[in-house]
Protein backbone atom coordinates (compact mmCIF):
# COMPACT_ATOMS: atom_id res chain seq x y z
CA UNK A 1 0.00 0.00 0.00
CA UNK A 2 1.34 3.41 -0.94
CA UNK A 3 1.96 5.89 1.87
CA UNK A 4 0.15 9.21 1.60
CA UNK A 5 1.81 12.32 2.98
CA UNK A 6 -0.93 14.72 4.00
CA UNK A 7 -0.70 18.15 5.56
CA UNK A 8 -3.62 19.50 7.57
CA UNK A 9 -4.90 22.64 5.87
CA UNK A 10 -5.82 24.46 9.06
CA UNK A 11 -2.28 23.92 10.43
CA UNK A 12 -0.76 24.98 7.14
CA UNK A 13 -2.83 28.16 7.07
CA UNK A 14 -1.95 28.97 10.67
CA UNK A 15 1.76 28.51 10.10
CA UNK A 16 1.65 30.57 6.89
CA UNK A 17 -0.69 33.14 8.39
CA UNK A 18 -3.12 32.93 5.51
CA UNK A 19 -6.90 32.56 5.32
CA UNK A 20 -8.35 29.08 4.85
CA UNK A 21 -10.77 30.63 2.37
CA UNK A 22 -7.84 31.35 0.06
CA UNK A 23 -6.91 27.65 -0.05
CA UNK A 24 -10.58 26.79 -0.65
CA UNK A 25 -10.68 29.25 -3.54
CA UNK A 26 -7.63 27.59 -5.06
CA UNK A 27 -9.40 24.25 -4.81
CA UNK A 28 -12.60 25.61 -6.35
CA UNK A 29 -10.54 26.93 -9.26
CA UNK A 30 -9.00 23.49 -9.75
CA UNK A 31 -5.52 24.76 -8.95
CA UNK A 32 -5.00 22.36 -6.04
CA UNK A 33 -6.68 19.23 -4.74
CA UNK A 34 -7.89 18.86 -1.19
CA UNK A 35 -8.39 15.51 0.53
CA UNK A 36 -10.94 15.03 3.29
CA UNK A 37 -10.37 12.47 6.05
CA UNK A 38 -12.63 12.22 9.10
CA UNK A 39 -14.07 15.72 8.59
CA UNK A 40 -10.62 17.30 8.34
CA UNK A 41 -9.13 18.67 5.15
CA UNK A 42 -5.61 17.96 3.97
CA UNK A 43 -3.33 18.69 1.09
CA UNK A 44 -0.90 16.17 -0.32
CA UNK A 45 2.75 16.97 0.33
CA UNK A 46 3.66 16.91 -3.35
CA UNK A 47 1.27 19.85 -3.91
CA UNK A 48 2.97 21.96 -1.26
CA UNK A 49 5.38 23.58 -3.68
CA UNK A 50 2.55 24.66 -5.99
CA UNK A 51 0.47 25.94 -3.08
CA UNK A 52 3.36 28.03 -1.75
CA UNK A 53 3.89 29.46 -5.20
CA UNK A 54 0.22 30.51 -5.38
CA UNK A 55 0.55 32.11 -1.94
CA UNK A 56 3.54 34.15 -3.10
CA UNK A 57 1.74 35.25 -6.26
CA UNK A 58 -1.37 36.27 -4.30
CA UNK A 59 0.13 37.88 -1.22
CA UNK A 60 3.39 39.28 -2.52
CA UNK A 61 2.61 40.22 -6.09
CA UNK A 62 -1.06 41.12 -5.56
CA UNK A 63 -2.18 38.82 -8.35
CA UNK A 64 -5.82 37.82 -8.03
CA UNK A 65 -7.17 34.30 -8.42
CA UNK A 66 -8.06 34.75 -12.08
CA UNK A 67 -4.53 35.98 -12.72
CA UNK A 68 -3.06 32.98 -10.90
CA UNK A 69 -5.19 30.62 -13.00
CA UNK A 70 -3.96 32.27 -16.18
CA UNK A 71 -0.33 32.26 -15.04
CA UNK A 72 -0.57 28.60 -14.02
CA UNK A 73 -2.01 27.65 -17.39
CA UNK A 74 0.69 29.59 -19.25
CA UNK A 75 3.49 28.15 -17.07
CA UNK A 76 2.22 24.66 -17.86
CA UNK A 77 2.27 25.49 -21.55
CA UNK A 78 5.79 26.89 -21.25
CA UNK A 79 6.83 23.68 -19.45
CA UNK A 80 5.45 21.42 -22.16
CA UNK A 81 6.99 23.60 -24.87
CA UNK A 82 10.35 23.41 -23.09
CA UNK A 83 10.05 19.62 -23.04
CA UNK A 84 9.30 19.70 -26.74
CA UNK A 85 12.32 21.95 -27.39
CA UNK A 86 14.55 19.48 -25.50
CA UNK A 87 13.17 16.59 -27.51
CA UNK A 88 13.63 18.46 -30.81
CA UNK A 89 17.16 19.51 -29.82
CA UNK A 90 18.01 15.87 -29.16
CA UNK A 91 16.59 14.93 -32.57
CA UNK A 92 18.61 17.70 -34.19
CA UNK A 93 21.81 16.26 -32.73
CA UNK A 94 21.38 13.33 -35.13
CA UNK A 95 22.24 15.65 -37.99
CA UNK A 96 24.98 17.66 -36.30
CA UNK A 97 28.64 17.22 -37.36
CA UNK A 98 27.64 15.30 -40.47
Amino acid sequence: METEYLIAIDEFCTSHNIEISFVSSLQQSGLIEITTRKNSTFIEADQLKQLEKFIRLYYELDINLEGIETINYLLQRIGSMQDEITSLRNRLRLYENE
Binding site: K53, R56, Y59, E60, L75, I78, R89, N90, R93
Partner: protein, 297 residues
Protein backbone atom coordinates in the same frame (compact mmCIF):
# COMPACT_ATOMS: atom_id res chain seq x y z
CA UNK B 1 32.22 46.63 -4.58
CA UNK B 2 30.11 49.02 -6.68
CA UNK B 3 27.52 51.49 -5.54
CA UNK B 4 24.03 50.25 -6.40
CA UNK B 5 21.53 52.88 -7.48
CA UNK B 6 18.30 51.52 -6.06
CA UNK B 7 16.22 54.34 -7.54
CA UNK B 8 17.52 53.58 -10.99
CA UNK B 9 16.89 49.87 -10.46
CA UNK B 10 13.23 50.54 -9.72
CA UNK B 11 13.02 53.24 -12.40
CA UNK B 12 11.83 55.94 -10.01
CA UNK B 13 12.85 59.46 -9.01
CA UNK B 14 14.62 60.18 -5.73
CA UNK B 15 11.50 62.05 -4.67
CA UNK B 16 9.28 59.01 -5.18
CA UNK B 17 6.54 58.50 -2.60
CA UNK B 18 6.16 55.16 -0.75
CA UNK B 19 3.17 54.43 -2.97
CA UNK B 20 5.23 55.03 -6.11
CA UNK B 21 8.02 52.79 -4.75
CA UNK B 22 5.57 50.00 -3.98
CA UNK B 23 3.96 50.32 -7.37
CA UNK B 24 7.32 50.28 -9.20
CA UNK B 25 8.48 47.28 -7.20
CA UNK B 26 5.28 45.31 -7.82
CA UNK B 27 5.44 46.04 -11.51
CA UNK B 28 9.03 44.83 -11.82
CA UNK B 29 8.51 41.91 -9.42
CA UNK B 30 5.65 40.62 -11.54
CA UNK B 31 7.98 40.69 -14.51
CA UNK B 32 11.02 39.08 -12.92
CA UNK B 33 9.67 36.96 -10.05
CA UNK B 34 11.30 33.49 -10.10
CA UNK B 35 7.90 31.83 -9.85
CA UNK B 36 6.98 33.42 -13.16
CA UNK B 37 10.35 32.73 -14.77
CA UNK B 38 11.26 29.16 -13.82
CA UNK B 39 14.88 28.16 -14.57
CA UNK B 40 15.76 31.69 -15.69
CA UNK B 41 18.91 32.72 -13.85
CA UNK B 42 18.87 36.25 -15.29
CA UNK B 43 15.34 36.86 -14.06
CA UNK B 44 16.27 35.49 -10.64
CA UNK B 45 19.27 37.83 -10.40
CA UNK B 46 17.19 40.77 -11.55
CA UNK B 47 14.48 39.94 -9.03
CA UNK B 48 17.06 39.77 -6.24
CA UNK B 49 18.27 43.25 -7.23
CA UNK B 50 14.81 44.81 -7.25
CA UNK B 51 13.89 43.00 -4.04
CA UNK B 52 16.98 44.49 -2.43
CA UNK B 53 16.08 47.95 -3.74
CA UNK B 54 12.59 47.57 -2.32
CA UNK B 55 13.93 46.38 1.04
CA UNK B 56 15.87 49.60 1.35
CA UNK B 57 13.59 52.18 -0.19
CA UNK B 58 10.37 50.94 1.40
CA UNK B 59 11.88 51.22 4.87
CA UNK B 60 12.02 54.91 5.89
CA UNK B 61 15.09 54.43 8.11
CA UNK B 62 17.07 52.49 5.55
CA UNK B 63 16.04 54.87 2.82
CA UNK B 64 17.19 57.83 4.87
CA UNK B 65 20.55 56.23 5.50
CA UNK B 66 20.88 55.23 1.89
CA UNK B 67 20.03 58.75 0.70
CA UNK B 68 22.48 60.25 3.18
CA UNK B 69 25.46 58.00 2.70
CA UNK B 70 24.66 55.99 -0.41
CA UNK B 71 27.28 57.21 -2.84
CA UNK B 72 29.88 58.11 -0.23
CA UNK B 73 29.33 55.14 2.01
CA UNK B 74 32.96 54.04 1.78
CA UNK B 75 34.23 57.38 3.16
CA UNK B 76 31.69 58.01 5.85
CA UNK B 77 33.16 57.78 9.32
CA UNK B 78 29.72 57.84 10.76
CA UNK B 79 28.69 55.04 8.47
CA UNK B 80 31.68 52.96 9.52
CA UNK B 81 30.61 53.25 13.15
CA UNK B 82 27.10 52.32 12.19
CA UNK B 83 28.41 49.32 10.32
CA UNK B 84 30.42 48.15 13.31
CA UNK B 85 27.36 48.46 15.47
CA UNK B 86 25.36 46.44 12.99
CA UNK B 87 27.99 43.76 12.74
CA UNK B 88 27.91 43.34 16.50
CA UNK B 89 24.17 42.95 16.42
CA UNK B 90 23.92 40.94 13.26
CA UNK B 91 23.65 37.61 15.03
CA UNK B 92 20.63 38.72 17.00
CA UNK B 93 18.59 39.63 13.96
CA UNK B 94 16.28 37.35 12.14
CA UNK B 95 14.47 36.64 8.93
CA UNK B 96 13.43 38.63 5.95
CA UNK B 97 10.38 38.92 3.84
CA UNK B 98 8.79 37.41 0.83
CA UNK B 99 10.51 35.21 -1.65
CA UNK B 100 13.94 36.13 -0.39
CA UNK B 101 13.20 34.09 2.72
CA UNK B 102 13.94 31.02 0.73
CA UNK B 103 17.35 32.27 -0.32
CA UNK B 104 20.72 32.67 1.25
CA UNK B 105 22.21 35.95 2.49
CA UNK B 106 24.55 36.00 -0.45
CA UNK B 107 21.56 36.80 -2.64
CA UNK B 108 21.91 40.37 -1.48
CA UNK B 109 24.69 42.46 -2.97
CA UNK B 110 27.93 43.15 -1.10
CA UNK B 111 26.89 46.77 -1.12
CA UNK B 112 23.68 45.95 0.73
CA UNK B 113 25.45 43.64 3.18
CA UNK B 114 27.98 46.35 4.02
CA UNK B 115 25.49 49.13 4.41
CA UNK B 116 22.67 47.37 6.16
CA UNK B 117 24.20 44.19 7.52
CA UNK B 118 23.43 40.64 6.51
CA UNK B 119 19.93 40.57 7.84
CA UNK B 120 16.84 42.03 6.34
CA UNK B 121 14.39 43.37 8.83
CA UNK B 122 11.70 44.99 6.78
CA UNK B 123 8.75 43.27 5.24
CA UNK B 124 5.78 41.24 6.22
CA UNK B 125 5.08 40.41 9.76
CA UNK B 126 3.91 36.88 8.92
CA UNK B 127 6.10 34.27 10.64
CA UNK B 128 5.97 31.89 7.75
CA UNK B 129 7.23 28.33 7.54
CA UNK B 130 8.73 28.07 4.10
CA UNK B 131 10.16 25.21 2.15
CA UNK B 132 13.84 25.76 1.53
CA UNK B 133 14.97 27.02 -1.83
CA UNK B 134 15.14 24.48 -4.64
CA UNK B 135 18.62 24.18 -6.05
CA UNK B 136 19.30 23.47 -9.70
CA UNK B 137 22.49 22.18 -11.17
CA UNK B 138 23.71 20.71 -14.43
CA UNK B 139 25.66 17.50 -14.78
CA UNK B 140 27.70 16.84 -17.89
CA UNK B 141 27.93 13.21 -18.98
CA UNK B 142 29.50 11.36 -21.87
CA UNK B 143 27.14 9.16 -23.88
CA UNK B 144 29.06 6.14 -22.60
CA UNK B 145 28.44 7.27 -18.99
CA UNK B 146 24.70 7.47 -19.62
CA UNK B 147 24.77 3.94 -21.05
CA UNK B 148 25.31 2.34 -17.64
CA UNK B 149 23.81 2.91 -14.21
CA UNK B 150 26.55 4.51 -12.17
CA UNK B 151 27.20 6.62 -9.10
CA UNK B 152 28.31 10.25 -9.18
CA UNK B 153 29.35 12.60 -6.43
CA UNK B 154 28.16 16.18 -6.75
CA UNK B 155 29.31 19.18 -4.81
CA UNK B 156 26.29 21.38 -4.18
CA UNK B 157 26.91 24.50 -2.09
CA UNK B 158 29.78 22.79 -0.29
CA UNK B 159 27.83 19.62 0.45
CA UNK B 160 28.86 16.37 -1.21
CA UNK B 161 25.90 14.44 -2.54
CA UNK B 162 26.24 10.94 -3.93
CA UNK B 163 23.62 10.07 -6.50
CA UNK B 164 22.87 7.08 -8.69
CA UNK B 165 22.42 7.97 -12.34
CA UNK B 166 20.14 5.38 -13.95
CA UNK B 167 21.18 4.02 -17.34
CA UNK B 168 19.29 5.58 -20.23
CA UNK B 169 19.07 9.09 -18.86
CA UNK B 170 18.21 11.54 -21.65
CA UNK B 171 20.00 14.70 -22.68
CA UNK B 172 18.12 17.63 -21.08
CA UNK B 173 16.31 15.37 -18.61
CA UNK B 174 15.94 16.70 -15.06
CA UNK B 175 15.75 14.51 -11.99
CA UNK B 176 14.74 15.58 -8.49
CA UNK B 177 16.71 14.68 -5.39
CA UNK B 178 14.22 15.37 -2.61
CA UNK B 179 15.38 17.27 0.45
CA UNK B 180 18.81 18.25 -0.88
CA UNK B 181 17.96 21.89 -1.61
CA UNK B 182 18.15 24.83 0.78
CA UNK B 183 17.21 24.46 4.43
CA UNK B 184 13.59 25.17 5.33
CA UNK B 185 12.77 28.47 7.03
CA UNK B 186 11.14 28.58 10.46
CA UNK B 187 10.84 24.78 10.56
CA UNK B 188 9.61 24.40 6.97
CA UNK B 189 10.77 21.40 4.93
CA UNK B 190 14.07 21.49 3.03
CA UNK B 191 13.97 22.26 -0.69
CA UNK B 192 14.83 19.84 -3.45
CA UNK B 193 17.80 19.52 -5.74
CA UNK B 194 17.08 19.40 -9.47
CA UNK B 195 19.81 17.98 -11.69
CA UNK B 196 19.62 18.51 -15.43
CA UNK B 197 21.78 16.20 -17.50
CA UNK B 198 23.74 17.40 -20.47
CA UNK B 199 25.02 14.50 -22.53
CA UNK B 200 27.85 15.14 -24.95
CA UNK B 201 27.70 13.97 -28.53
CA UNK B 202 29.65 10.80 -29.27
CA UNK B 203 31.93 10.80 -32.32
CA UNK B 204 30.59 7.46 -33.60
CA UNK B 205 27.09 7.09 -32.21
CA UNK B 206 24.07 9.37 -32.41
CA UNK B 207 21.15 8.81 -30.10
CA UNK B 208 17.47 9.35 -30.60
CA UNK B 209 15.44 8.20 -27.62
CA UNK B 210 16.53 4.62 -27.03
CA UNK B 211 17.85 4.04 -30.53
CA UNK B 212 21.43 4.52 -31.63
CA UNK B 213 22.66 5.35 -35.10
CA UNK B 214 26.11 4.71 -36.48
CA UNK B 215 27.83 4.69 -39.85
CA UNK B 216 30.18 1.87 -40.79
CA UNK B 217 32.72 2.03 -43.62
CA UNK B 218 32.54 -0.93 -45.99
CA UNK B 219 35.14 -1.70 -48.62
CA UNK B 220 33.96 -2.14 -52.19
CA UNK B 221 34.73 -5.84 -52.39
CA UNK B 222 32.77 -6.69 -49.24
CA UNK B 223 29.88 -4.56 -50.46
CA UNK B 224 29.83 -6.35 -53.82
CA UNK B 225 30.47 -9.88 -52.67
CA UNK B 226 29.07 -9.77 -49.11
CA UNK B 227 30.70 -11.31 -46.06
CA UNK B 228 31.20 -10.91 -42.35
CA UNK B 229 32.39 -7.76 -40.62
CA UNK B 230 32.91 -6.84 -36.98
CA UNK B 231 31.52 -3.53 -35.75
CA UNK B 232 31.72 -1.63 -32.47
CA UNK B 233 28.65 -1.07 -30.33
CA UNK B 234 28.51 0.71 -26.96
CA UNK B 235 28.46 -2.75 -25.41
CA UNK B 236 31.44 -4.26 -27.24
CA UNK B 237 32.03 -5.70 -30.69
CA UNK B 238 29.44 -7.64 -32.69
CA UNK B 239 29.71 -9.66 -35.91
CA UNK B 240 27.49 -8.63 -38.77
CA UNK B 241 26.71 -10.41 -42.06
CA UNK B 242 26.83 -8.05 -45.04
CA UNK B 243 24.55 -9.03 -47.91
CA UNK B 244 26.11 -9.23 -51.40
CA UNK B 245 25.49 -6.13 -53.58
CA UNK B 246 25.02 -3.83 -50.59
CA UNK B 247 24.57 -0.19 -51.65
CA UNK B 248 26.08 2.85 -49.95
CA UNK B 249 23.48 4.28 -47.53
CA UNK B 250 21.80 0.93 -46.95
CA UNK B 251 20.69 0.52 -43.33
CA UNK B 252 20.43 -2.51 -41.11
CA UNK B 253 18.77 -2.69 -37.72
CA UNK B 254 20.43 -4.57 -34.87
CA UNK B 255 17.65 -5.30 -32.44
CA UNK B 256 18.31 -4.57 -28.74
CA UNK B 257 21.80 -3.22 -29.46
CA UNK B 258 20.78 0.39 -28.87
CA UNK B 259 20.54 2.44 -25.67
CA UNK B 260 19.15 1.12 -22.38
CA UNK B 261 15.55 2.11 -21.69
CA UNK B 262 15.45 4.50 -18.68
CA UNK B 263 14.42 2.68 -15.50
CA UNK B 264 13.56 -0.49 -17.44
CA UNK B 265 16.45 -2.77 -16.67
CA UNK B 266 17.34 -5.25 -19.40
CA UNK B 267 15.42 -3.38 -22.11
CA UNK B 268 17.31 -1.75 -24.95
CA UNK B 269 16.51 0.21 -28.06
CA UNK B 270 17.89 -0.73 -31.47
CA UNK B 271 21.12 0.11 -33.27
CA UNK B 272 20.80 1.32 -36.84
CA UNK B 273 23.91 0.80 -38.96
CA UNK B 274 24.31 2.76 -42.17
CA UNK B 275 26.89 1.50 -44.66
CA UNK B 276 29.27 3.92 -46.28
CA UNK B 277 31.06 2.19 -49.14
CA UNK B 278 34.65 3.25 -49.67
CA UNK B 279 36.01 3.15 -53.22
CA UNK B 280 39.61 1.89 -53.34
CA UNK B 281 42.26 4.51 -54.09
CA UNK B 282 45.88 4.36 -55.35
CA UNK B 283 45.00 1.47 -57.68
CA UNK B 284 47.83 -0.56 -59.13
CA UNK B 285 48.06 -1.04 -62.92
CA UNK B 286 46.84 -4.58 -62.49
CA UNK B 287 43.79 -3.46 -60.51
CA UNK B 288 42.96 -0.80 -63.07
CA UNK B 289 43.19 -3.42 -65.80
CA UNK B 290 40.81 -5.72 -63.92
CA UNK B 291 38.31 -2.91 -63.37
CA UNK B 292 38.52 -2.12 -67.09
CA UNK B 293 37.77 -5.71 -67.88
CA UNK B 294 34.82 -5.62 -65.51
CA UNK B 295 33.46 -2.47 -67.07
CA UNK B 296 33.62 -3.98 -70.54
CA UNK B 297 31.80 -7.15 -69.57
Amino acid sequence: MDFVDYYKLLGIEKTATPKEIKSAYRKLARKHHPDLNPNDKDAKRKFQQINEANEVLSDPEKRKKYDQYGKDWQHSEQFEKQQQYQNQNRSSRSGSSGYSQTQSDSDFSDFFESMFGGARGAGRSRQVKYRGEDYTTELQLELTDAYKTHKQTLNVNGEKIRITVPAGIENGQTIKIAGHGGKGINGGPDGDLYITFSISNHPDFKRLGNDLFTTVDLNLYKAVLGGEITIDTLNGKVKLQVKPETQSGNKVKLKNKGFPVYKNEGQYGDLYVTYSIKIPTNLSEKQKELFNQLSEM
